[in-house]
Symmetry: C2
């Protein structure tokens, strides 16, 4: 498996499509941007795009596939129905089921959105000497539901989900500055310290991902998270939608550096 | 008229609504962002929003009003049907007609888009010592159709329209840096010098606005222009759409500085 990690995005997507890669995508195709995926019927897609425009830190749209289109403009020869290692198909009242392909449920009126992912700024933070503790511990990042209201759009309303990274006090300003240069992958943090102030009462039990311990010289730093759309779409009672499974991202041809400024 | 220019946006919009202001809006409500307006039936609005996502320098969306909504989130108590001093109503095959209100043609499925306007970076350029020649001459900025292709989206396709400002060679780098800090109002230039290279063969006769002479120590500097949507929607054969008339912008409550970084 190891050498697959150094495949170009196009070749990696082919491995996924052929069922040879089913694991999370952290670390694959280094240097290239991975993306959160949201697929919606056209009837609710416009509301979602307006929601994203109003909440760009949580929902930074980096690419859109018109209704029925399966090749992402940002990923040559891709197939949005098969190139994600694990999908979640949500149905109202039923929760979700996970699958390696969505071909059998695909409809011609499905619009697909790709949202920037924190992997991009994480790799830049690491490069500049700020360790990502969850990665060093081999865990998923901790994610929490908050009381921070998103701006509503049409039928869509709900609160922001955040990812949390413990950062040493001496490195927090640097982490803000570096991530702030990547507004298309969530940008700078939304909140630093004081979890209770944003409605997080139990840091040890995240709503998504794994718990990551916070040491004495660290402060929890919270970034807007690409899981927000899943939470908002469920909260808003949308009948049917599809996303990637957490950590199982869509790998684009966009270079990380092209999302920075 | 003079003191009206110093009204707050909300009060200025009321003057417009009551028919007391019918002129171009350059210089009114100083410090507040003015916006280009595009109104479309919902059937084509999604394509337009994707078009804007793919062409953010020409079409920087700063606000969207869901179908049927008349109050812009960025402009308290506004009425998008009446608060622009002059509208253009386009019908396929008929060109456009101008009107002070679009109440009589308004439909519940109209989606309204506000796009950032170069007035915001112009005021910053002037503040920092870079004169805007067209303003000093009391003219509209020169705008040209170009051969620069926009990225297509659904049924929408066409070329970019640019605005041109003559800048002294010694100040061009500074103009790039300052405007580059305002990506939501077109950002940095798309082309500097050599108009022929982007399909402009007669600088003296712009496609929109007024001609502005270029002196020996100046180079023509081209920015993506908010007239691009009008040109693209016409080029793409869209049946019906509404925009502001050039120079007659929608005045928002957003402060110019909040669109910078």
């Amino acid at each position: 498996m190891k050498e697959w990690k150094n495949l170009y995005p196009k070749d990696f997507r082919r491995e996924v499509r052929e069922g040879k890669w089913t694991a999370p995508t952290a670390g694959v195709a280094p240097g290239y941007a991975q993306a959160n995926l949201v697929i919606l019927p056209k009837s609710v897609a416009m509301d979602f795009m307006i929601f994203a425009q109003r909440n760009p830190k949580a929902c930074p749209v980096i690419d859109v596939l018109e209704a029925g289109v399966i090749e992402a403009p940002s990923a040559k020869d891709s197939d949005i129905r098969r190139d994600v290692p694990k999908y979640r198909i949500y149905e109202k009242g039923k929760g979700y089921r996970e699958t390696a392909s969505i071909e059998e449920v695909w409809e011609e009126d499905f619009v697909s959105f790709l949202l920037g992912c924190s992997f991009t700024f994480e790799s830049e933070l690491i490069k500049q000497g700020i360790p990502m503790k969850h990665i060093d511990l081999g865990k998923n990042v901790s994610m929490y539901k908050t009381s921070i209201p998103c701006k509503s759009a049409g039928s869509l309303t709900g609160e922001m989900v955040v990812s949390m990274r413990p950062i040493k006090s001496s490195q927090i300003a640097k982490a803000v500055e570096i991530s702030g240069r990547y507004p298309q992958v969530h940008g700078s943090p939304i909140h630093i310290g004081n979890p209770q102030a944003i409605g997080i009462n139990n840091m040890e039990v995240p709503d998504y991902g794994d718990g990551v311990p916070i040491e004495g010289d660290e402060i929890p730093v919270f970034w807007p998270c690409g899981v927000t759309p899943q939470s908002v779409l469920m909260n808003s009672g949308v009948d049917f939608f599809i996303t990637h499974a957490p950590g199982h991202m869509f790998v684009t041809d966009i270079k990380n550096e092209d999302l920075g400024r």
